[in-house]
Amino acid sequence: MFPNTQVRGPSGARKASAPPVVHCIDVRVRILAALALSVVVATETRPIPLAGALLAAIAATIAARVSLEPLTHRLVSLNLFLLLLDACVAVSTPGAVLLSLGPAHVTREGIVYAGMITLKANTIVLFLTTLLGSIEAVDFGYALERLLVPQKLTRLLLFTVRYLDVLHREYGRLSQAVAVRGFRPRLDRHSLRTFGYLAGMLLVRALDRSERVHAAMKCRGFTGRFHPLEPATLHARDGAFAAGAILLAALLVRGRWW
């Protein structure tokens, strides 16, 4: 989801002269569109709309010029996991038996069901990659905040992004400190206790750090409220994009209720 938190700006897509349209769309609109399309796809049970959704997702992926390599990586690991799930579904769904392997009976209904799960999962992952994959963690946090997700949660995300690196360096220093004194992890009491101390010390230091950060914030006039610096403005293109997403979702659910 967060391919690169170091530099802000479009990433996860190949460098090109003009950025893909989706990168210019307001992050909030992208989150809502991804949410809506995921729900529609996940609850769909008819094969034709599902196939249509997959085609739409593939088209969107191409239009957004998503880098192929990380995407392939993601899809391979997803489908390896799904294979396991599919195998279980195929033999555990009651129905017309197609094939018997000892005590396990592969049913026709099971195959269809497993196929649908695979189709849905791939479609949703493609939509999420296209719509959310290029969003920086920081922008994602701010967008959630504007979507009225409680500030406590979004700030947790933002502070985590900021201090993960600091904590990671702190952990690096601690583990170096034990390594230079000849520590080799083994499966014994001494090693377990050492790891316990490491984790404990990291927690204590993180707590200390958080208190110092809070103190520094108070020194700059912080009284418990965050004020956004970037104004949140929606453009016509955001509206057009939202309309497109709604249209696609409506097309997919067509015939389900009316």
Binding site: Q6, V7, R8, V138, L158, F159, V161, R162, Y163, D165, V166, R209, R212, V213, A215, A216, M217, K218, C219, R220, G221, F222, T223, H227, P228, L229, E230, P231
Partner: protein, 218 residues
Amino acid sequence: MSDALINLRDVTFGYAQDWPVLRDLHFRLDAGERVGLIGANGSGKSTLLHLIVGLLRPEKGAVEVLGMVRRREEDFHEVRRRVGLLFQDADDQLFCPTVAEDVAFGPLNLGKSPREARAKAHETLEQLDLTSLEDRVTYKLSGGEKRLAALAGVLVMQPRILLLDEPIAGLDPNAEARVTELLAELPQEMVVVSHDAAFLSRLTSRRVRLANGRAEAA
């Protein structure tokens, strides 16, 4: 009441019971003065700075800043607007994703509009010749750059007094020279904690040593 900018009288403070770091301490900063604060590790130099801006409260004694005795949290809100504290570890201070956002954090807290805050941040960075850092991500800065960005976050509040906690500790000679030069040109009164005698004699007019919980001229 006195005309001192900072006047601590009979201040006692300890982190643990019956073990005060500072005991009946007197400390004063007058207009036009720059005081260097020296003393062994753990002698209470950072503690003293934190008492001045109300991050810590004394067990006993009076903390008078800018002409008023300050006691409650609300008293210190004004102090923190007008007294800028630079922390020892810049990572504690730079918590926003980018330098521009971090520098604008203070002005936003003072009720400035985002546009004004951004303009003020830009102006401050320009004065410090740091505009190249503006859109950089804070945790990817070098140690020297972090110190300078944190300083910008303090100066953007246009403080009357500066409290600097080891501003050059851990910097390489180049970064140290740059920070020293920058600080020397600032107009504010200062209290500077440092172990570096040459740095303090360049920057400050008077030295105070903390030992056994008290402050004495050094």
